[in-house]
Symmetry: C2
Subunit: 331 residues, 2 copies
Amino acid sequence: MPTGCLIGDSSLNNVDFLELIAEDIEEVEELMRSRSEGYHPDLGAAMEHLLSAGGKRIRPKVALLMGKLLEADQRDLILLGASIELLHTATLVHDDLIDGSLLRRGNPTLNSDWSPAATVLTGDYIFAQAAELAAEIGSTEVMGLFAETLAVIVNGEISQLFSRKKLTSRKAYLQRIYEKTGSLFVLATKSAALLSGSAEERIQAAVVYGREIGNAFQIVDDVLDFTGTRETIGKPIGSDLRQGVLTLPTLYYLEEKPDDQVLEKVLAGHHNGADLKEVLGRIKASGVVQRSLQEARKYSHRAVRALEGFPDKSEKQALIDLAEFIVGRDI
Amino acid sequence: MPTGCLIGDSSLNNVDFLELIAEDIEEVEELMRSRSEGYHPDLGAAMEHLLSAGGKRIRPKVALLMGKLLEADQRDLILLGASIELLHTATLVHDDLIDGSLLRRGNPTLNSDWSPAATVLTGDYIFAQAAELAAEIGSTEVMGLFAETLAVIVNGEISQLFSRKKLTSRKAYLQRIYEKTGSLFVLATKSAALLSGSAEERIQAAVVYGREIGNAFQIVDDVLDFTGTRETIGKPIGSDLRQGVLTLPTLYYLEEKPDDQVLEKVLAGHHNGADLKEVLGRIKASGVVQRSLQEARKYSHRAVRALEGFPDKSEKQALIDLAEFIVGRDI
C-alpha cells in the first residue's frame, strides 16, 4: 500500500464501531472544506492541502459519539466536530512552523514550502474559522470553553518551548499531555454533554472520559515516536528526542539509567544521527515502552469507568471500544 | 519630551472629550493586564511589554462611547473593550513577525528579541485571551461577530502578503483598509449597539460610524508613514513603501506620475536608502498627502452624519469630536 494511502486512510477510519457516525463525519468533512471558499485562492489551496492529508478525526468522532449518546442536537454536533478539528489543525500548523517540521501525516507540512508569514496567517485563518463555527452553535458556555481550551493549548506550547533541553518530571509530562491533547478531548466531550442539557454529574463524567481518553491517546502517540515507522506515523521516528522533548518512555528510561551518556548528549542537542539511533535502540530495548503502554491502559480504563452510569446505547459501546482501540493502535 | 513618553502618552490620551470614559479605560487596562497572570512567566513579561508600550486604545474608547451612549451594560463594555484591544494586539504581534518589523510605538517589537516561535505563540495566546473575554460577555451575536472579524482581518493580511510588490487599485486599497482597520472599529461599535438592545436601524448606523471612522483612521495612519517622524509614529518613516505596500498617497501619486522610474525601482524592491528618501520626498512634495487627508475627512464626515438620529448626550458629542480629531492628528 502506498504511504500516502496508509496515512490518509488510517485505521480509525475502518473500524466497525465507528460505522454509526460515518455519515456525520462526512458532514463534518464537508463543513470544514466549505470554510476555505470565498477567500484568497492560495488560502483555499492551503486548507485543502491540510484537510486532504487526512488524519483520524478522532476529536470530532468522540464529540459525535458523546453527543449522540446524550441526545444533543445533530446540527450542533456537526458544527462542534468541525470547529474542534479546525482548532486542532490550526495548532498543528503553528506547531510545525515552531518545530520546523517538514512532514506531518506523511505529507509535506505547509511550513516546508510556504514562507513562515503565510504559515502563521494560514494558522490564524483556521483559528478564525474554528471560532466562527463554535460561535454558530450559539452556546455561550461552549464558546467560553472553546476560548479557554485555546488558551490552555497555547500555554502548554509556550511552557514546552521554554523548557526544551531541560529535564522535566513525570508530573510536568502529565500536565503537558493534558494541555496538548486531553484539553481538546475535554472540549469535545464536555461541549457535547453541555449541548445535550445533561445534569452536572453527567457533564463531569463526560469531562473525565474526555480527559482520560485524550491522555491515553497522547501517551500512545509518544510511544509510537519510538516504535512506529516513518511510513506508519507519517514523520521521522524519534522526532521528540531530536527536538529535546522528553516524553514518558524517555522519562522512565532516565529513572532507570540517569547516567546514560549518549542520551545526555542527545538531550543537550550535541548529537549526530548515530547517537540518536543508538539512544532510540536502547530505550526500545529497555522495557519502558511496555511500561508506558501500561500507563496508557490505566487512563483508558478510567475513561471507560466514567461511562458507567450512561445509557446503554450503541454509542456508549462505541466509546468503550474506542478507548480500548486507542491503546492498541499502531498508527 | 523623551520619545518613549511621547509615544506612550499619545495625544488621544489627553483630550478633554475623552475625559468621560477615562475611568472605564483604566478598567479596560487592568482587565487586559490581568490576563497574563497565572501563566508562564515569560509570557506574562511579553504581555506586560506589549501592553505597557501604550497605544491609543482608540478601539475600546469607541466601543465605550458608543455603548454608553446607547446604555449598554457597563461590565459588558469593559469586557468588550479589553477583548477588542487584545484582538488588535494579537494581530500586531503576528504582523510584526511577518513584516520583520523591529519597532512599534517607539518600542522594540517582540519579534526583535524573541524567537519567531515565541512570537507566534504569544500572538496565539493573546488571541485566546481576547476570545475568552469576548465569550465572557455571554452574547452569541457578539461572539459570532468577533470570530468573523478575526477571519476578515486575517484574510486581508493574506491578500496583502500575496499581492506585495504588485500594483494595486484604489478599490483594492479601500477593501484592504476595511479589512485591516474598519472591521475592528465595526466590531467595537456594532457590538456595543447589539449589547444595548438597540433597534436594527440604530445598529446599522453604529456599523456605519465604526466603518467610516476606522477607514478615516487608517488613511491618516498611512499618510503619517510619509509625513510623520520616527519619534512621533514610533517606527521608521516610509515603512510601507520599503515593504512594497501601496497606500493611498502612493496610489494618487502613481495616477499622476505613472512612469516615475525611482518609484518603480522602490516598488520592485531594488532600491537603496537614497532611492527611498528621494521617492518619499517626491510624494510629499506632490500634493497627494493633502488629497489623501481630504479623502479621510470625507469618511470622518460620513461617520458623524451616521450619528444624526442618536440621543443628544455627551458621549455623542465625544464621538463627533473623536471623528474630527482623528483626521487632524499628527501621531
